[in-house]
């Protein structure tokens, strides 16, 4: 808000751990021009405000949990975790450091900027273990009051307050004389085990409160972490006895939320007169959350007689605030006024300023609340101008300084300004000068002319908030969408992965055919993906078809020989199918490198689905919401699900001159597939499935037609043996269908030959070991209609095609094995991607995918899964 922009001045930076400093243990203290900083590590830094430089760094034997200064003794006390309390004389310390600086190295003391990179510019002086004045591994907090040392130790089941006569820093190592101790009852015992006692997450808070009236020595209280309370409040909180004795009181705020007090003058115990907790300890309140701060402030404007704080404040970690002050009822009797508030937490640290202000640092920044102005103005009708009451509501005002983990109020300018000393989570020490004279905005008490400005501010604030809300909403929607997509993809993957055996719900079939395009015969493969699952494939899915040619199909490294086509699956609902036709060859030089493996896979792109949703998180700004920024997506940004591998080998490419020649205008009943063997077998099947019409008559009365397909083993051998196609092939054969001839070289006619169908086992004499079948087609096969290349046919619309006959497994376990004589096949250009098919990038590969593989794909042998065994053909 306008009036609160503090002037922030960075003083120095200190080394801090990776995640920043944790609140609770760092401390900043100021003594004159010197600032003492502990960041929670072993190091304690001394910074000189006048010279603007770091003057000393001490390394303590353990992590420093608490720091205290005793100005009259000029000593610095530090509590080291699991070690005890160490004491350094400030005079001695500065002397030893200045010597050390000269000895160790030429200290470049003039630039404090150097410290920004975390390397202290002046040498680190280790603290002597003999500086330990109180070795006790269980200490969790302490406070120094005049010549007393009050400690809080963590027992196995209870907290223990101990009071010691405070030994001077220079004195001989004598045991500090224990004056008294008492146990605080606590319901939740701190955990302890055989191992090292666990470092508490929250440390207890100790501080001293004193009654006014004692001159001299009590003025030191403020500086050494304690405070003086107004008489009435003091008596109310701590009782008549403490008031009468004018005894300091130690206040303990425990991590379980208890706020209790011990009157120090009563805390004199010995082994034979132990302290009775019931008599010595008074529980003031229970905050029900870890107490992180106890302080006092003045809510009344100071009158002549009493300028001491009249309100005790305790802050809990989650933002609960307790404020207690003394008030008088109508009968004139004094009674405590207790008010609890809730501030947005978690509270990292806090400090009490003058004029009733509490500065506290939360995750969202440094805030200030005003306990003095919140209240109603003093009622003039009240006798002797009795005190007003505490505000019923606190409105924190942000100061715009983020992540402060340690705070102390440096000085107060009479005009209403305040200087705060703060240590940020990044280890930066800074002073914030505040001019708070323009009042805390809540409740608005300013003059009327301010109101317009206020309303404007509020409106603009509302505008910003609503903008932010809408952007957040958008981001949420995007994320929801992405989640829905991911869920679908997950379902599809599960369905595919679950069906290892049997028909797969999403299948891909490949059929091959010869067709004529641009005056050339080309071998085309028609791939069809059918979605038999209950889920639809939506955005993000891509259908990938990889064509691996020739001998390299078996090569594990398909580099250079594979061509990948990626076809976006825009939306493939349940039951729908999609088809694509690809040219397999022959290539420009007329070779057709068989076998060709056509592998189909589905690829799911995570980037496409999640990229947008995650990119929008940049606008969220909230570090707590960031899950996985876009650049943290895994490199392989997708999932790949292999569907099938289909091997196109020589037999499937056999052509018969008589069949191939007719133009393929008329669509065949048997579909576009042109495998002659399949055609023949289909013809065999035909009459039986047709009960009526002339065909059935023919079937009844005509003798069955017989055709013989003879493949000359020698020719096959020769063709296969030719190895490299091209040179050695006689040009005369170039038009002959490859491998169609008997051993005598007589070209296979394919003419119908009357007779009974027979199937003769091929002799295994040929080198390739193929059993060449002799098939006798009963009828000339129908002309094969050339498939429309590149036009994916949606068979859902165009009528269901019969499954490709190539998928039939021959009952005789016939293995079609062959190799088209290269010379006999017109040269085909490099496979051109059909229109509508995205051409793959230069070095087309499978996209970098997370391959989801089956252990051994049952269909990877090249033959399609057996769908229906062909009826017996006269074996």
């Amino acid at each position: 808000m306008a009036g609160f922009a503090p002037r922030v001045q960075y003083l120095a930076g200190f080394r801090c751990p990776l995640g920043g400093l944790a609140a609770g243990k760092p401390r900043v203290l100021c003594h004159g021009a010197e600032i003492f900083v502990s960041t929670g590590s072993e190091l304690v830094y001394v910074y000189d405000q006048d010279g603007r430089l770091l003057t000393a760094v001490y390394r303590f034997p353990g992590r420093v949990w608490h720091l205290e200064l005793s100005t009259p003794r000029r000593a610095l006390y530090a509590l080291c975790a699991q070690k005890g309390i160490y004491c350094l004389s400030l005079d001695q310390a500065s002397r030893s450091v200045s010597q050390g600086a000269g000895d160790d190295r030429d200290a470049d003391e003039d630039d404090s900027e150097d410290s920004e990179d975390g390397e202290p510019p002046c040498p680190v002086s280790p603290v002597d273990p003999d500086a330990c004045i109180l070795p006790d591994a269980t200490l969790c907090a302490f406070v120094v009051l005049d010549d007393m040392l009050i400690t809080l130790a963590q027992g196995p089941a209870q907290w223990k307050v101990q009071l010691f006569g405070c030994p001077c820093p220079g004195e001989d190592a004598r045991p500090p004389g224990q004056i008294g101790e008492v146990e605080l009852s606590t319901s939740s015992p701190p955990a302890g085990s055989l191992g090292e006692p666990a470092a508490p997450h929250f440390l207890p808070v100790l501080c001293c409160a004193s009654p006014p009236g004692c001159s001299g020595p009590r003025d030191r209280l403020r500086r050494s972490g304690g405070f003086v309370l107004e008489r009435a409040l003091f008596g109310l909180l701590f009782g008549v006895d403490a008031s009468l004795l004018e005894s300091p009181v130690v206040l303990c705020g425990l991590p379980d939320g208890q706020l209790c007090c011990v009157v120090l003058k009563t805390l004199v115990t010995s082994r034979l007169a132990p302290g009775d907790p019931k008599a010595l300890v008074k529980i003031l309140h229970h905050l029900e959350e870890p107490v992180v701060f106890i302080g006092a402030l003045r809510t009344e404007s100071p009158d002549m007689e009493d300028t001491h704080p009249d309100c005790l404040v305790a802050l809990g970690h989650c933002g609960r605030v307790l404020a207690v002050r003394a008030s008088w009822d109508e009968a004139g009797a004094v009674a405590p006024e207790l008010q609890e508030y809730r501030l947005p937490g978690p509270v990292l640290c806090a400090a009490c300023g003058g004029d009733g202000r509490v500065y506290h640092s939360t995750a969202s920044g440094l805030c200030v609340v005003d306990l003095a102005r919140g209240g109603a103005p003093p009622d003039p009708g009240q006798p002797d101008g009795g005190p007003g009451s505490l505000p019923s509501l606190l409105c924190p005002a942000s100061l715009g300084v983020c992540s402060v983990v340690a705070l102390s109020v440096l000085s107060e300018v009479p005009a209403g300004g305040t200087r705060l000393l703060a240590l940020s989570a990044r280890g930066r020490l800074m002073t914030c000068s505040l001019d708070l004279s323009s009042a805390v905005p809540c409740p608005p008490q300013g003059p009327v002319e301010n109101t317009g400005q206020k309303i404007k501010e509020l409106l603009s604030g509302i505008g910003t908030v609503s903008e932010r809300v809408s952007s957040l909403k958008k981001a949420v929607d995007q994320r929801n969408q992405a989640l829905a997509c991911l869920n679908e993809a997950m379902n599809v993957s599960c369905v595919l992965l679950a069906s290892r055996e049997g028909p797969r719900p999403i299948s891909c079939t490949v059929t091959t055919a010869w067709s004529r395009a641009q005056l050339r015969d080309v071998l085309t493969a028609t791939c069809r993906v059918q979605n038999g699952s209950g889920f639809s494939l939506g955005r993000g899915w891509t259908w990938c078809v990889q064509v691996l040619t020739g001998s390299r199909a078996s090569d594990p490294d398909p580099a250079g020989s594979a061509t990948t086509y990626t076809i976006p699956v825009d939306r493939l609902g349940p039951g729908e199918q999609r088809e694509v036709t690809l040219t397999l060859g022959p290539s420009d030089d007329g070779t057709l490198d068989l076998p060709v493996t056509v592998a189909c896979a589905l690829h799911y792109s995570l980037r496409e689905v999640l990229g947008r949703a995650l990119a929008s998180s940049d606008s969220l700004e909230d570090p707590s919401l960031d899950g996985c920024p876009p650049d943290m997506l895994p490199e392989q940004e997708g999932i790949c699900l292999p569907l099938s591998d289909h091997a196109v080998d020589m037999l499937q490419c056999l052509r018969f001159p008589g069949l191939a020649s007719p133009p393929a205008q008329a669509p065949s009943l048997l579909g576009p597939t042109g495998d002659p063997v399949d055609t023949f077998l289909g013809a065999c099947l035909g009459p039986r499935s047709e009960p009526a019409g002339p065909a059935s008559l023919r079937a009844k009365f005509l003798p069955p037609s017989v055709a013989t397909i003879k493949v000359s083993a020698a020719l096959l051998k020769a063709a296969l043996g030719a190895g490299q196609p091209g040179d050695g092939d006689p040009p005369g054969r170039s038009r002959a269908p490859a491998g169609c001839g008997d051993p005598s070289g007589e070209p296979l006619s394919g003419q119908p030959v009357p007779g009974t169908p027979c199937c003769r086992g091929a002799s295994a004499e040929d080198g390739c070991g193929a059993r060449c079948p002799e098939l006798q087609p009963t009828r000339p096969p129908c002309p094969v209609s050339p498939p429309d290349p590149g036009q994916p046919r949606d068979t859902a619309a165009g009528g269901a095609d019969a499954a490709g006959p190539a998928e039939h497994r021959r009952p005789s376990e016939l293995v079609r094995h062959g190799r088209a004589a290269a010379a006999g096949v017109p040269a085909a250009a490099q496979p051109q991607p059909p229109p509508g098919v995205t051409p793959p990038p230069a070095a087309a590969r499978w996209p970098r995918c997370t391959w989801l593989r089956w252990a051994s794909p049952p269909w990877s042998t090249g033959a399609g899964p057996a769908t229906s065994p062909a009826p017996g053909i006269g074996v």
């Binding site: 003999d130 330990c132 004045i133 070795p135 591994a137 005049d146 010549d147 027992g155 196995p156 089941a157 009071l163 190592a173 004598r174 045991p175 004389g177 224990q178 004056i179 008294g180 302890g192 085990s193 055989l194 191992g195 004692c214 020595p217 107004e230 008489r231 009435a232 003091f234 008596g235 109310l236 009782g239 008549v240 006895d241 008031s243 009468l244 004795l245 004018e246 120090l264 003058k265 009563t266 805390l267 004199v268 115990t269 010995s270 082994r271 034979l272 007169a273 132990p274 009775d276 008599a279 010595l280 003394a326 008088w328 009968a331 004139g332 009797a333 004094v334 009674a335 006798p383 002797d384």
Partner: protein, 618 residues
Amino acid sequence: ELLRTASCLDLWREKNDQLVRQAKVAQDSRQFLRRQQLAQDALEGFRELLHSLQGLPPAVPVLPLELTVTCNFITVKASLAQGFTEDQAQDIQQGLERVLETQEQLGPRQECGLRGLWDSVLHYSSVLLELLPALHHLAGLQAALWLSTDCLGDLTLLLQTLNGNQSEASEDLLHLLKTWSPPAEESDGPLTLQDARGLKDVLLTASAYRQGLQELITGSLPKALSSLQEAASGLCPRPVLVQVYTALGTCLRKMGSPQRALLYLVAALKGGSPWGPPLLEASRLYRQLGNTAAELESLELLVDALSVTHSSEVPQLFIEVELLLPQPDPASPLYCGTQSQAKYLLASRCLQIGRAVDAAEHYLDLLALLLDDSEPKFSPPPCPPGPCMPEVFLEAAAALIQAGRAQDALTVCEELLSRTSSLLPKMPLLWEDARKGTKESLHCPSWVSAIYMLQGRAWVQLGAPKEAISEFSRCLELLFRATPKDKEQGPASNCEQRCMSDVALQQLRVAALISRGLQWVASGQDTKALQDFLLSVQMCPGNRDASFHLLQTLRRMDRRDEAIALWWRLEAQAKLPQENAARSLPLYLETYLSWICSPDRETLLEEFQTSLLEPCDP
């Protein structure tokens, strides 16, 4: 493999021995801090060693060493923490579970707790003879733990099992401890800080002492006597011996043998520090004997003794008898309190027995002790066992008035008022209200009224009746308008609960009324005096002082018939048993009541009889 285990075993053993030596060096170190640090280091060392030993599956050859390390660890830990805690119980449990693991007998028995574990382990110990010394050592520590936490049932059962159930019939803890004979540790075994036999002696003394003290408190004196004598005859460090002798003195005093008690107390005093308990006991003894001088002398010595800051005695690094003794609570005969508590005892005794001058001095010393800021020495107020602080002030004022130092008494009262003024209702407001005639109920601690009453008395002594009457009026105004504060709220709640019963409040009102009436009498305003006396008799019809003063006034005013009626009533009351014998009033009120009671009341009543009644007789 075997070789490696053997060499590791040697290494660990060497480490244990070294740590034990280090702890012993620490013990001999004269510098406290150095000592403490060495001991802490040793503790850490034992912890680490135990960790590495327990990182391996338990094996019978290693277990004796492991158990010994556990024992040493527990010993250092308990002596550093000056007591046993749940932690040590866990350490013991872990040791036992490791033993059972070798026998593959862990599992369902875990629910039985330590007791069940011990049963199982000792059952197997007949098989594992080499574990026996270490197990007895651990059992000794377990016994110490159970003794210090008062689990005597478990302890008895454990000792019975350890003794092989031979003395099963015996439930007597001391007897069981005496018959327990832990096997001697092998001379070549790993070093220990304290062996089982040493532990047994400590246990014997501690349990005898605890038992004796318990019997003393419950009143079974002969048993207590024998138990305490048992403790005194055993291994007993001097400070403990002093306490045992003191307890014996208490026991014998209660048994009616003051001379023998005195002998024990003298022996205790010869034993040295702590001086407090025997001196306090001596004062009780002399009080019982009626030897006031000796009683006060003992108390004075007690004050001196407690002013000596006892140097915190350096605890040893093994289980001591002190570690196993209960902390005395204020009800215990061995609780001697602090210096200011002793001073208060002395001052109040002086006031009670009528040594007003001494009492005044002691009270002033006490207040100086408590309030003086110049001296940093700490001394707590007499509470909680004694009265609350305002009452101490009031007693001091009463003692000063008694000693004829009215001016000082006024100062004390002023001091009390000024120090608590912020907590009290705004008095000017109150008096204003009174003038306006508005009557609202007001919460005010009743000791505030007592301050005004004592101030009035001081003015009386100073010969200023006007001021005196004004103070008494204030006092009465408060007493009749203010309701005592709610017990639970307010600054004085602690104090109120103790110091002002209803009876006391009634007596306070009567005392204030009589005091003002007497002032009216002195200034010759009999009518006003009569009003006050009448009111006081109405308040408390049984109060003979009030009736007597009323009778006198009636007689002086020549209201004969009323006087006769009152006299008859007084006569009837005198025949009834005295009801106020059992009342317990604050000391300052007792003292005050003694001032307004005419000593020659009975002779005056005789006089009345003759002067009032005779003319009626025919």
